[in-house]
Point group: C2
Chain length 453, copies 2
């Protein structure tokens, strides 16, 4: 039986396995899901053993563990290190999910579940494709090492230490991430750039307790109003970042880069209608795709303070909080950006309140890869077979913090071969993955294992 026939024969089982994997609530950012993240790691380890991979096991870190396995039976052939993650984003507001986030459901040819596309899709499809080749051919054409982590959604704070400590075990010729996407259902894409990431929580403190707004309003500062002034001083109403020095290290887009982005068949009206806003918005002087792919951004991810219940509470609150993340482009440094934000906030904080900061541990450098890298060439051949035409070169506004860490510790660029699409509600309610993408992923990974590098 060819690997292709094996894929067809086992398709139903493969789908069931995705549902089972997605059922594990492996939310890495919430302490109460610590055991679930470990359960997802253990699930991946068992599945890799079943696929015929060797040395499958948990690799411990200071935080959530990794899952690892390998097949090294092709002496002389290149060794490919595949990377992905089995942790997922939180699910609130749960009320907006059509079906519960951890009760995976198939509707209209799509698997709905938290993690369905980001990134259990990539992790499990790769394992299934490897099994198909191993079983049908008795061997793989290349050596493979599979490393899946449980902290990608919190910025991979412990992966670099693991890479540094296991350089020999993880030595490889090329690194391929299975966390990413294609351009559309019909068009392939080769990812050549990712944004960096940094973030922090800003805490604004006023009076030691909540106070009566009638008695004390006018004499005691309002931390919520102060926070509003602080946040308004971080971005202008269009979204251009006002933090002093924020754009200092940004490498300006070249005319050629802007031309390449203009070639991609991006439809701003379609995006506008899909997310149901009256108009797209963002920094003046750039097209939407430039802003999404190649301009740094600052977003408020969460904000809270005071009374949030029904009705009225005439309170002068004692504190206010906001969570902020920035997406960065070459050559911005996440640490430097955090420092500049903190300095800026200190300068613009109104009188009568004090501020403190909780920088996020997980940060990512922006990342880019040469279009003509040998692995990109192999990916191009693979995708051309799967889609029947050559792929676009695409960029992502998302961050995969490990790309920079892999390059620094293992000395290789990280290419991406993955099958998410950007309408799949990643990080949002009703996340899903298409079964048609599963079929493409299985075929593509199996083909890719037969590529030359």
């Amino acid at each position: 039986m060819s690997w292709s026939s094996y894929l067809s024969a086992h398709r139903d089982r493969f789908i069931s396995e995705h549902l089972a994997f997605d059922r594990i609530p492996s939310i890495s950012s919430l302490p109460q899901h610590k055991d679930d993240v470990r359960a997802a790691a253990a699930w991946a380890v068992r599945r890799m053993q079943q696929a015929g991979l060797a040395n499958a096991g948990i690799l411990e870190t200071e935080g959530h563990p990794c899952a690892y396995a390998e097949w090294l039976g092709a002496p002389g052939a290149p060794t490919l290190l595949f990377y992905g993650h089995f942790d997922v984003q939180p699910v609130d507001p749960v009320s907006l999910w059509t079906t519960p986030p951890f009760e995976p459901t198939i509707r209209d040819g799509r698997i709905y579940a938290r993690g369905a596309t980001d990134d259990k899709a990539g992790v499990l499809s790769l394992i299934q494709a490897i099994e198909s080749v191993l079983v049908s051919e008795g061997r793989l054409p290349v050596n493979v090492k599979l490393l899946f982590e449980g902290e990608e959604e919190i910025g991979s704070p412990n992966l670099r230490a693991l890479l540094a400590a296991r350089k020999a075990q993880l030595a490889c010729d090329h690194i391929i991430s299975v966390d990413g996407g294609q351009w559309s259902e019909k068009d392939g894409g080769i990812l050549v750039s990712l944004k960096g990431l940094c973030g922090l929580q800003i805490n604004v403190h006023g009076a030691a307790t909540d106070l009566h707004s009638g008695v004390f309003g006018g004499a005691v500062a309002n931390p919520l109003a102060a926070l509003a002034h602080i946040l308004a001083a971080l971005r202008d109403p269009d979204g251009r970042v006002l933090v002093d020095g924020f754009y200092d290290d940004v490498v300006p887009l070249t005319p050629a880069e802007r031309a390449a982005m203009a070639e991609v068949p991006f439809d701003g009206d379609e995006l506008r209608d899909r997310v149901k806003v009256s108009a797209l918005a963002g920094e003046k002087g750039y097209t939407p795709i430039e802003r999404m792919w190649a301009r740094p951004t600052l977003d408020v991810n969460g904000m809270w303070g005071g009374f949030q219940g029904a009705g009225v509470k005439t309170v002068l609150p004692g504190e206010a909080h906001a969570k902020i993340t920035c997406r960065l482009v070459a050559n911005q440094d996440p640490q430097k950006i955090i420092e500049r934000i903190i300095a800026h906030v200190r300068r613009v904080t109104p009188p009568g309140v004090r501020v403190d900061f909780e920088p996020s541990k997980g940060t990512a450098y922006p990342y880019s890869m040469p279009l003509d890298h040998p692995v990109n060439e192999a990916i191009k051949r693979t995708l051309t077979q799967v889609y029947g035409k050559p792929p676009y070169y695409i960029r992502m506004g998302g961050s995969v913090p490990v790309t920079g860490q892999f390059e620094r510790e293992l000395g290789s660029k990280v290419a991406t071969l993955a099958f998410g699409l950007d309408d799949e509600q990643m990080h949002a309610p009703d996340e899903f993955w298409r079964l048609s993408s599963l079929d493409k992923a299985l075929k593509a990974y199996a083909l890719f294992l037969h590529e030359t590098f």
Copy 2:
């Protein structure tokens, strides 16, 4: 036995009754406490019957009910209508209470409980004083009507209709509120001005669902950042309100009024240290006491949107919310101020989001009373006996929305005789009332019933 001896003989019982009354979680703003508000009304009705008052009963409204009773056995003597409220503020954050808000506890001569000072103190002390005079003297020197409501903390949305419908039943010569306070433990105060109140919730809507900040950031507006811009456009960093036309109807303070306020022994440093801020803050050009007592304010009472959990969620949220209330002074109109805020917000809303509004039902007109009103003269004599020296004329930044409603429906000004102090954590965790204030209140109400008007 004189009423004075009766007060002493029954002091322990009276204290126990305060604890029992405070135990009822009569939070008027939270639907799940609807039955508790009614239970507090029923409790007050029973207590008024026990005190010897007649026609005690529940008066229904469209919302929470009122409690009513009367004693009309002094033909020819004036009729005094007393007003107070048995509903209380919400209690969150509950974690900041030393003892649970509805498990009243006496520590250091203070009753700690939600509602202990605002306003179950006033309601019950008055009933206890009336009982003391009625029992010890067999009659009251004046006629009294007691009307206590259950919606003061949500702006008394249904009281005016009740007053209008029961004009004959509530007819009186003078109206006295038992909701208010004194200047200090040692200094009496006559309340001559209250602020008005209005408020609204602002909802900012962006994309139909939460989105991935990496994929969509830069192209889709961020409702939290938009809300920050809106709120920052409502007040300057010092707290001066920026809403177009907000100050148009404000009657400027006269030099005489500013001088009277300067005479009050207000200690700004003490307030600063008490609420634990580095400095008082507020509108430039006015002293703290002027800002608290006689200048209008706009406060953000609550604000929320996006991810509020531990850790990081790189989300571009779909919506953001803020609750705002304004404290008003003569001659601002609450309805007009709400309209001006809404118009202002529409003008300053950044592109890519839409806003809608939920004005609060409960509003209050600002209120003031002549210093030499006959009831104020009677209160002055009463307080001079209780404190051993004449009281100050004071103002309150708080609002008692009914004052204006009483004046309009029943044709009388509303004087205030009440014994709260402004360090008693009204509307905040660890609300308390002093037993020393209970003793003063009981004596003062008994004396006041013997006054001439």
